[in-house]
């Protein structure tokens, strides 16, 4: 008897498929979504000029709003943009409510249509790089974020412990992973 094909792991799904799974109340899909975009949301919040504590409130509120809006997200392919727009508006809202006006706050933080195109492009491109690195999988997906994304800038000893590779291997692995990343980036260029 033929076995039913198993469903792919949420980690292997693109955003539209992931959102569809979340609509089925798939807990793992929601966890994957949060994990995929947690740095984008948190960094976007901090970029608005709010402090860490307020950014934490914003972070929480954005995920609540996403879950509440899941049925409405028209273009799940543009989820990063949805998250950026929401984060900026919520940051403005919470900072205003807390009587801590955001320095240089502009209407564009409330009105998504006024979001600066260059900043949006930059954030989405950075997210795209992260997606490519995650898609490399294996050692590269563990090593490159530690080398290039981690704001704490861990030393090689810490990277070795976290990524599970010998300190002496980090240099050669870094070169090999970057080569694979370059190939992916060149493939995807418009």
């Amino acid at each position: 008897m033929a076995r039913a094909p198993s469903r792919p792991s949420p980690r292997d799904l693109d955003d539209p498929a992931l959102v569809a799974r979340c609509l089925e109340d798939d807990e793992r899909a929601w966890k994957t979504l949060v994990t995929r975009y947690r740095a984008l949301v948190y960094s976007t919040a901090l970029r608005t000029g709010i402090d860490d504590e307020t950014a934490g409130d914003v972070f929480q509120q954005v995920w609540i709003e996403l879950h509440r809006s899941l049925d409405r997200v028209r273009d799940a392919q543009a989820l990063p943009q949805w998250l950026i727009v929401t984060t900026r508006r919520v940051a403005y809202k919470i900072a205003t409510k807390n009587d801590r006006p955001v320095e240089g706050a502009l209407d564009e933080m409330v009105d998504p249509s006024a979001l600066p195109g260059d900043e949006l492009q930059e954030l989405q491109d950075l997210q795209r790089i992260r997606d490519h690195i995650e898609a490399l999988g294996g050692t590269c997906a563990r090593l490159l974020p530690l080398l290039f994304f981690d704001e704490r800038e861990p030393d090689y000893k810490k990277i070795s412990e976290t990524a599970g590779v010998a300190v002496g291997s980090i240099g050669p692995l870094r070169a090999r992973c970057l080569k694979r990343l370059r190939a992916r980036l060149e493939e995807q260029r418009p």
Binding site: W30, F59, Q60, I64, H67, T86, Y92, L126, E151, L185
Partner: protein, 165 residues
């Protein structure tokens, strides 16, 4: 920063320079975000009825005091009667809303869902009982809609009366 698309080499250079370092949220924040899936979703409207607003005109002695710039809607449909008052922002793009719904067939447990929607964002979602007064404020761009999902499946949609297309 420029909106120009970078080449693969430029991206690798940016990575090497540390230009892609984002601050990761603390783990406790991530755990709380995972719990956001308990937030109820706003359903899509099944049967939509669009209702139009009037300028506020509530002047009966002892009646509610309505600012000149507010707008009000009061109407009925098979599922019930709705009364909504909206005040445009005085500052910070903060709108204020007051809504009360009377169900055609109140049964004590029925609830209406009221959602403030902008584009594909549901900014607020509330559940109210028959005749219950709901008041809330929200920072929202122009062009929002208020969706009222009545217990019988009807959805009354009230579009931002100050920026109607």
């Amino acid at each position: 920063m420029s909106a120009r698309r970078r080449s693969a080499q430029e991206w690798l250079d940016l990575l090497a320079q540390g230009g892609a370092r984002w601050k990761e949220p603390p783990e406790d924040l991530v755990s709380r975000a995972l719990g956001a899936r308990s937030e109820k979703r706003m359903p899509r409207a099944k049967r939509r009825r669009t209702v139009h607003w009037d300028a506020a005109d509530v002047r009966s002695p002892g009646g509610p005091s309505v600012a000149d710039d507010a707008k009000i809607v009061a109407g009925s449909c098979p599922g019930g009667e709705v009364s909504v008052l909206v005040h445009p922002p005085l500052q910070n793009a903060t709108w204020s809303f007051e809504a009360r719904i009377w169900f055609a067939e109140p049964d004590g447990t029925a609830r209406a869902i009221i959602g403030l929607v902008h584009d594909d964002h549901v900014l607020q979602r509330h559940e109210v009982a028959d005749g219950e007064m709901l008041r809330f404020e929200e920072i929202v761009p122009d062009g929002w809609s208020l969706e009222i999902h009545l217990p019988d499946g009807d959805t009354v949609v009230l579009d931002d009366p100050f920026h109607a297309e």
